[in-house]
């Protein structure tokens, strides 16, 4: 088995065990409120790993990815809701879209496809920029899409948003897509593209000199991550059954980036760990917030958490390692200790 396949399978399998357990336990005994947390946790895994597959490999942060989540979510909304509802609400749709609807899986795939297409087109311009300028320009991307979602009445219903999406994302469907996202992002990370990109992360000029076309590599990563983001958006829309422009703007960007940097931007495992930690912190503080009555307490706590983590561990909780690397190191250390003890 190739290194790529071995690492991908191992890296995915280690997370598959606890995530599958969570899904089964939630399915057996969770209250509706807890179920929401679990399913949104799984969907957040897809979203955060989508961002990780670009930012982690290129070292360029993106504030614009929620635009692609929004594209995926709106696409899923438009293709799944009942044609009867569409005639009243979405008058601007072309007739073939207004008269037909599709099921869960085609909607998710369409979300990913359109998300990837949109990202691919924008990426042609964005990936030419220098690292810092590109990060800033992604903010512009987010604003452009917000303005479009907010005003394109005939297709997105503007500020009102689209409601009445069938709730098709089950906890197991979310689990499957979360695991697929982990596997896909890990495989990309270990692939030739990923290796070359991570080489270019520390020194783009040297990477160019060694024959990597950094702009093209970044474009590939950007487009792929846009597609995964679209899938995540489509899953999200089909669980939360209503979409609106505010859900794909700055306020929602903050928790996703928080998850990514707290866990560790550089690795897939960092993304997974970050989603887990921040989801728990969010839920605990949110429940306290209702009791204490301080508005915005959750945001304050998460902001302080980010500042403290970045101050103490600039590479996040995982410190730039994958979980299988951490386990291998622990095993190595134990072996050294045992051998040391036997002498």
């Amino acid at each position: 088995m190739s290194t790529l396949a071995r690492r991908t399978l191992l890296g995915t399998a280690i997370f598959a065990v606890p995530l599958t357990a969570i899904a089964f336990v939630a399915n057996a005994m969770a209250s509706p409120a807890d179920m929401r947390v679990v399913v949104n946790f799984m969907i957040s895994l897809v979203l955060v790993l989508a961002i990780q597959s670009f930012s982690g490999n290129t070292g360029i942060i993106s504030f614009g990815h929620l635009a692609f989540m929004g594209v995926g979510a709106y696409v899923a909304a438009i293709v799944t809701i009942d044609p009867v509802l569409k005639q009243d609400d979405l008058a601007g749709l072309p007739s073939f879209m207004a008269e037909h609807s599709v099921g869960f899986i085609p909607a998710v795939l369409l979300g990913g496809l359109v998300g990837g297409l949109v990202a691919g087109v924008l990426g042609v311009v964005l990936t030419r920029m220098r690292e810092g300028a590109m990060a800033m320009a992604t903010i512009g991307v987010l604003v452009i899409f917000f303005v479009v979602f907010d005003n394109w009445e005939g297709i997105t219903r503007g500020n009102t948003g689209i409601a009445g999406i069938p709730q098709s994302t089950t906890v197991f469907a979310a689990l499957v897509f979360a695991l697929l996202a982990i596997a896909a992002c890990r495989a990309f990370c270990e692939s030739r593209f990923g290796l070359q990109l991570r080489g270019s992360r520390s020194d783009p000029v040297a990477a160019e000199a060694l024959g990597s076309n950094v702009v093209r590599l970044r474009w590939v990563a950007w487009t792929l991550s846009g597609a995964i983001m679209g899938v995540g958006g489509a899953l999200w829309a089909q669980y939360n059954i209503a979409v609106g422009p505010q859900q794909f703007f700055f306020e929602q960007t903050f928790p996703l980036l928080a998850m990514l940097v707290v866990g560790g931007l550089a690795t897939v495992s960092g993304g997974v760990v970050g989603v887990f930690v921040i989801t728990i912190v969010f839920e605990v503080v949110r429940r306290m917030e209702d009791d204490i009555g301080i508005p915005g307490l959750t945001q304050i706590v998460v902001a302080v958490l980010i500042l403290v983590v970045l101050n103490r561990r600039p590479n996040g909780i995982m410190g730039g390692l994958e979980v299988d690397q951490v386990l291998a190191r622990l095993r190595g250390r134990r072996r050294v200790e045992q051998e040391g003890g036997s002498q």
Binding site: M129, V147, Q299, I306
Partner: protein
């Protein structure tokens, strides 16, 4: 003839609006660029400096103090808040990566915004300004608001003072040198702490000045008020060339010119998409000049 005269008059009027808007963007963009050039930090919390300065005006107004007190207080508050941010959050992160700094400032921005929400109120608060700002002067065929005149004049004065400081004083020259090459400047014996503190103080003071005009235009303050102006300043900085001080100022005026032109020319049905068109134009500019308008490719670090 009448039609042409009217069109010309309209154009002049729009140009004045663009200059007033652009000068506010320029103040913010320049502050961002100063900090970026010495620290490599794109400061997301810059918008919160605007908000904090705005709230200083609100609190002083509430205490019954006149506008003449609110103005210097806003500028001082911006400068002090920037120094505090620098000392508490950014100094321990010296030498951290671009992303770490960026995300830290993002978190700081969320922290300050929600702090204002929790401590004062999530709602808008009114800050009525002197009636003077609502009046306008008739210069020949043109009607120009005092607000626009004062905004533009103050920004021009601020830019002149800052240029003199940067070019004539030792401290200022040290900062310009640091903006060019921070490491070399350190080797020349200029204290990095002083340069960085000065950059933050100036950027905060400029944000405080911008806050005065933003509050004057809106007549209110709210915790998220710094956000949209900050976005414009970000775009201005990118248009001008990240890290270039003069580029930031030029970028501010270019962005304002694009916005005002679109405002005047786009048909009503697509007006809501104005922001998207403006950013679309910016993206096209960046496609042809990925390093920004004022950075030559060979100079890019």
């Amino acid at each position: 003839m009448m039609v042409f005269a009217a069109a010309g008059q309209e154009a002049v009027q729009q140009a004045i609006n663009a200059l007033a808007l652009g000068s506010t963007y320029a103040l913010l963009a320049l502050g961002l660029a100063m900090v970026f050039s010495v620290l490599g930090l794109v400061n997301f919390a810059h918008g919160e400096l605007v908000a904090v300065s705005g709230y200083a005006m609100y609190l002083l107004h509430d205490a019954g103090l006149p506008f003449a007190v609110q103005v210097p207080a806003a500028i001082a508050t911006g400068a002090i808040a920037a120094l505090v941010m620098q000392r508490v959050v950014f100094r321990p992160l010296r030498g951290a990566s671009f992303i770490t700094l960026l995300i830290s400032s993002f978190a700081l921005s969320v922290l300050v915004q929600n702090g204002l929400r929790a401590i004062i109120s999530p709602r808008q608060q009114g800050v009525p300004l002197p009636d003077f700002f609502n009046e306008s002067v008739h210069l020949g065929p043109y009607v120009i608001g005092w607000l626009e005149i004062v905004t533009l004049a103050s920004c021009v004065i601020a830019l002149i003072v800052l240029t003199l400081f940067l070019r004539r004083s030792t401290q200022g020259l040290g900062m310009l040198a640091a903006a060019e090459d921070f490491q070399a400047t350190r080797l020349m014996g200029i204290s990095p702490n002083r340069v960085i503190a000065a950059a933050f103080a100036i950027s905060g003071a400029l944000a405080g000045l911008a806050a005065i005009f933003l509050v004057a235009r809106r007549g209110t303050v709210d915790p998220g008020m710094g956000f949209m102006p900050l976005l414009s300043a970000f775009i201005a900085v990118v248009i001008g060339g990240l890290g270039s001080l003069s580029g930031a100022v030029v970028g501010g005026f270019v962005l304002a010119a694009i916005e005002v032109t679109l405002d005047a020319t786009l048909p009503g049905s697509v007006q809501p998409f104005r922001e998207a068109f403006a950013l679309g134009i910016v993206v096209v500019i960046l496609y042809f000049r990925p390093e920004g308008l004022l950075t030559r490719v060979s100079e890019a670090k």
